[in-house]
Symmetry: D3
């Protein structure tokens, strides 16, 4: 894809006004209060993975409405009794938590690691997920973004983002854990921003190519999936645009970014049509984090893959500075 979004010089100072509901804070306070009525940890079962250096547990924690959300919890073998920072990671769109051998980076680097499942997702490709979404839905476009979107209270995204915020509490409820970073790419990046905005126990935020940032602009400048799910939904529900855009604005990463002051490392590819760079910069520039404690890596020739392993190396180094093992 050729360059299609704003030029880098404009992106760097891009601070759009993004629709925000008057009761945004109240909506989330009451949502999280409801969720907080449940003890975070439901089950913590050790499993065998064949990985000698890493110990892994199959976790269930209480997400939205106390629904059990599964996660893989891993930490370097032999670190019981040694408090470690925990990296809470969220998967990309369409994936579930997969299998525990898939994401070895953070435990190999010495961190505790909670790989959170995404409710209902995981059946599309990859190696699956294990968390149902027990809530049904009014007619929606194929995919997840528009399920229940007619009202923010029934939206799938409300449940998904609440799960993300609660995952941090679950991680910190585990033994020998002392601080928490949230990390994710694409949908996972969007969830990391939401978790940081909704849970002030987050000590570091790493989001690359985050989805769900300045959604209203994104659906005008790209027709790539999954933002296109929203366009398709609105093309059917022709009179619902205001209502749906209002619902979506409860879940926009730009607002969550404004609610965190955690140090942050972002990333974007300037040719990324899936999560256009303007949305990423809109969220990055809205962060409540002081300037000297946030960075954004720009990959001018990359699409949605962004920096890939090169950015992973940068994340490792950044984490070592901000949340050392």
């Amino acid at each position: 894809m050729a360059l299609f979004d704003l030029p880098l010089a404009e992106l760097e100072k891009y601070r759009p006004t993004v629709r925000k509901p008057a009761d945004f804070d109240h909506f989330w306070t009451s949502t999280l209060d409801d969720a907080a009525r449940f003890e975070p940890l439901i089950a913590v079962d050790p499993i065998t993975t064949g990985l000698a250096l890493i110990h892994t547990w199959d976790i269930a924690f209480a997400g939205y409405a106390g629904h059990p959300i599964r996660a893989w919890y891993s930490r370097p073998a032999g670190t019981q009794g040694h408090p470690l920072p925990v990296v809470v990671e969220y998967p990309g769109y369409g994936r579930g938590r997969g299998l525990p051998v898939e994401r070895l980076l953070w435990p190999s680097a010495g961190y505790a690691h909670l790989l959170v499942d995404t409710r209902g997702q995981g059946g599309q490709y990859g190696n699956g997920g294990d968390t149902p979404d027990p809530v049904g839905s009014a007619p929606s476009a194929p995919g997840f973004l528009t399920r229940g979107i007619g009202d923010p209270g029934t939206a799938y995204l409300r449940r998904l983002l609440t799960d993300a915020a609660r995952a941090v509490d679950a991680a910190l409820a585990l033994p020998d854990v002392e601080s928490a970073a949230v990390v994710g790419n694409s949908q996972g990046g969007g969830l990391a921003i939401a978790a940081a905005g909704l849970n002030n126990r987050v000590d570091a935020l790493l989001a690359s190519a985050p989805l769900l940032c300045q959604v209203e602009r994104a659906i005008g400048i790209t027709d790539a999936e999954p933002y296109n799910e929203i366009v398709r939904y609105l093309s059917v529900h022709r009179r619902s645009a205001e209502r749906v855009l209002n619902s979506l604005s409860y879940f926009d990463g730009v607002h969550f970014a404004g609610r965190t002051t955690a140090p942050a490392l972002f990333a974007t590819g300037l040719r990324d049509t899936i999560c256009p760079p303007s949305g990423v910069f809109a969220a990055f520039n809205a962060l409540g984090t002081p300037l000297h404690r946030k960075e954004i890596a720009v990959y001018p020739y990359n699409h949605h893959e962004g920096g890939d392993a090169h950015h992973v190396v940068r994340q490792l180094s950044w984490m070592n500075d901000h949340l050392p093992v």
Copy 2:
């Protein structure tokens, strides 16, 4: 698409063995008994459409577990007190009941007409639907076919097919209705076959390009949607094939065809990769209907559109012979 399935001469005598669970009949008897505990009609509200010749009501009837299923009910203006046959119609995949001005054929032809919504569907394209599916699901492929498919009891298809069977009872519970035909194209064709197999009050069956017929073969010879949803699901849930194919066999049109003796008009396009002709013939040849009371229209140069309006004309004529107004 070039010809890709069996030659016509083989299709005409094609009677494959299709996997059938031992408790197939029991599964459906108990499912329908449960559904029958609810009175079929929940709401019958007249609406204004601007169509002088046709009167229309917004209906809700009790589907699976008594869930309210919406439908448009139409009949020629001024026919109160005159019993009419009712045509129960099911939409294609991804569509809901849409708007009442969309399907005017059967009331224009003098029939009562019940256009049934499909739970959860309708948000993908077209003019929408109004029936939620209140049941959540384990991880599934995008779309509906694999929701809950890990077990026939939780499968979306169980709910959808039960709705289809109950729609006939709802139609016959309306005033001034004297007999019922079921009709549909693609998914709608599959639902019509299921309704005829599950509800012995069906007096005529019209199915063109029906989905859900000999599914196990279909997923081997085509990679078109929506059968591909199943392939994608199985590609993620690699060890679930036997379990999922077993679940799907509770919903295979070939088995429902064997349970009906209603006169039937089928149709297939020989280049149809979406609903391959072998599945259509497998169901047609399995019908319990006597030979002289069933027909299949073959369109050798057509894809999924089959006979289109040419087949509609044939359906009208056939209906006039079998269920005259």
Copy 3:
């Protein structure tokens, strides 16, 4: 498709200068005078459709040069002797009049209805047409838009638009008809605008996603079919651009819009690359109709399908206000 044309605020006041030949009016006056030498109705034969509520006739009327153009004429059963408004409808590109069971809306709503065939078209998909175009052509791009386009006098479009204008005369020559609306989508919308501009007996104009509006801009901003036929033709006939653009300007909807004062309901999808919204607004804003008697429905999330049945409902309501049965 993402948004690609002018923003809505600019579209609403968009009044471009469109190339117009000096002899535009003379060209059309003499063209229509020639056509008017033929009696409009050639044949009116009742047919059987199986639709109890609607009576249908197979019509032939005299189009360009008196060539016989076929149409389906329908009206509610039992309305002989009751004058009705007639809705003259034109098909989309590539379709012919099809079969009489395909378009039941207007007769179901109580109107007389003339569904006009399009000469030569109808062999591409759908259910066909019955009207030959007896005139050959110099080399042209596949399709119809560039046949004979080297000269406005020999252009296929001249014949097609004359047929459209004459269809109104044919409709009004039928018994028990009292006024005429023209309606169409895509090519049909372009033909409706042309008919209204060329025949002052048109009492209402309904055009959605009309083709052939500000053609010169359209071929620069979209490469979708069928406008791309023109680009392909010009890519071969590299020195003919001025001549061809001049020819095309005899058939541009913006000019026809300026010639009618009939009340009008337009529609456009803002993501429509087939008939870009700038052309639709250019025609709409050029209408000679007083402001309070014209409306345009804008569907921001839709492509060429625009409002679909939702717009049909609006059309029905609008017609009931402007040309009640």
Copy 4:
């Protein structure tokens, strides 16, 4: 494209039965007799091309019904008074004769060369054509193959093939010409076979990847254009298959091949989905030419491009053996 047609060993002995109308010979005799009523040459005008070694004339000859068909006639400069063999060449589908600088092979090799235009074609891509088809048509699929195909008498192909046969007479009516070869690729190959079958003055036949050979099989095994035009037409005209296939059988290269005894060089690519190799072999094996005077070049790894310039080299060598300058 992977291999998709019969294996080479079967192709080499492939002699299918191809539908042939009882009046095939009569149809063509009367068609050609009608055409023979016109003097072949209508105009022969020298033009300037800027090519010092080659002289070129713009020709018009009498084709079907005496319609003027254009052609470029070229021969080496300074060969007036020296009788030369003439190579009559037909263009591929969608092209016209283009410009005289485009096809320099045969005059460079010392031959006279007649590059024949194709009526109506030439507006799709390339550099155009100059021959209108003055005959209109009933609804047809976009393209040329199905124009007028409802009856062999009105078929575009009848006119096109008659033009091809008459081109040989025109070439031989030019001064200083002593014998004629016909040559073409794709549609041009089909026309060359037809010309050889219809005009016994052809002394050599070179056809590579010929279209219009065993059409009835081709439309079952490929969905590539232009054969797909026929499928699309039949998908609309659902009841016309027998009639249309009958019409097409008047123009099948297999039958023309049987009518010629001229020495022949054919070619086919085994991965050619546009003109599948089974059709090419069906025609080749049907040739009336003695075995030792016909050859077929097989390119196992090529698609429609076949041997390209490598085959040209072989054609030059073969021509030098059979029709030396």
Copy 5:
């Protein structure tokens, strides 16, 4: 992709005859003897990765003609002095060794791990490679498979496969290493088979979806990349098929499989068009390994991704049985 290759029951006993040059063994003996003149290890430099549990070195070893080939060598931190089995891994087509944080599985499982670069590759996507191919080439299709393929002696594949075999020697020349497994997916799977066939110090062979198996059949049944590079090359070099197929037969995995008796775990997806299952089974069934020491995992609903992480889990378990840490 629908099922397209042989049915599973036939695959399980599929033992095709594959073209084999008379001097196959001599070719490879002399090739390897030449390479063995160089000491395997050229450079072993520790690097910092930020991974606390794993130590990594940047290695250069002597490949074909002693060319330096780069690799990442990793092993669990703190295992100096403890002999470990080493897993030699080869990348998929188009990738290089990337960055050391990308492949953490085997060191996390307690193994030493040598991730070998692929000469010249790595610039197409992903995170790059560091090994030039210093040898130029005659014209080839884009990509690597056909470079120098006119002669087995100059073929890129000769160099690449020699590198693969020498990588095992390099791995075993490292300190604290006691045995060697080879592993790879796609091209990497093909290289693993070659390494096992060419180097009898291989103790275990893990190949999933291996490329370069029964190449001559593959290029007839699939047109997917990279096999299509060969088709494209042969489509240009029309007379070289025999020579090129002969060259390729020096590098066919079926022959290498016959030369190893190492225990082996293979895998294939039955819908894999990139490395069709018939080739995988042809190699698997040709293995010199005793039946009870070889296994193949079949993924009936998967394409080239095969078992993905599910297969990784199986590989871990299998390795633990055959080459325990």
Copy 6:
């Protein structure tokens, strides 16, 4: 493709600043001096083509580092002893010199003609090439543009452009040659501009749709091949952009254009995404040629094919004016 680059009015005065290395002139002077150490002609062998009017020789000349570069040399038969201008032609990307029967225009027009092979290319499609590139390369994107691009000294483009410049010396070293034009389309156009800028013996420059002009802008506005090779390379080598763009600037046609004063005929299609028109105009406007001795043909409705044979006719006429035979 719709219009996507600057409007024509802006193109006509488009004079962008293009990155230019300080040692640009020195780099090329030393490169050419090195190449000039070799005698240009290595071999001149007459061949038989079967073309009576044209004599052809198979040439090898000394290109970069004296590497033998093949070419076809043709001239009208019987012109020994008559000095002729020679047209040096370069092929498009992916093609080699092919076969001598493929490009007959210039000898037919009376010119001597040197059709130069492109090292390493020619295996992708068409009829091949005969010139190896004996130099290996670091990892690069598939294709040729990025081979060795990490340093201008090792870049494939350095070798290719030097070959192009040396081809002129080779042509002028042949007997009976008196002046030289360079001509090419696409890559060939870029090579012609380079040859004219690097070799002051060029008397006329004909470049249509030239590649390699204002590369840095091109990779931002198009994602078509082959410019996309550069994007892909930079997407992998994320930190190399400055170095690579610097290397590429040694080969940018805009700089070569500034070094020639030869009369020039350029061409561009305004919808050409492969070689966007802004780059063509940037080079054209940068030409050192006086205004009255340069022309550019603009084809507003054409893509990369531009004027095709229509432009060939214009080239012939222009050549006749500037370098008459």
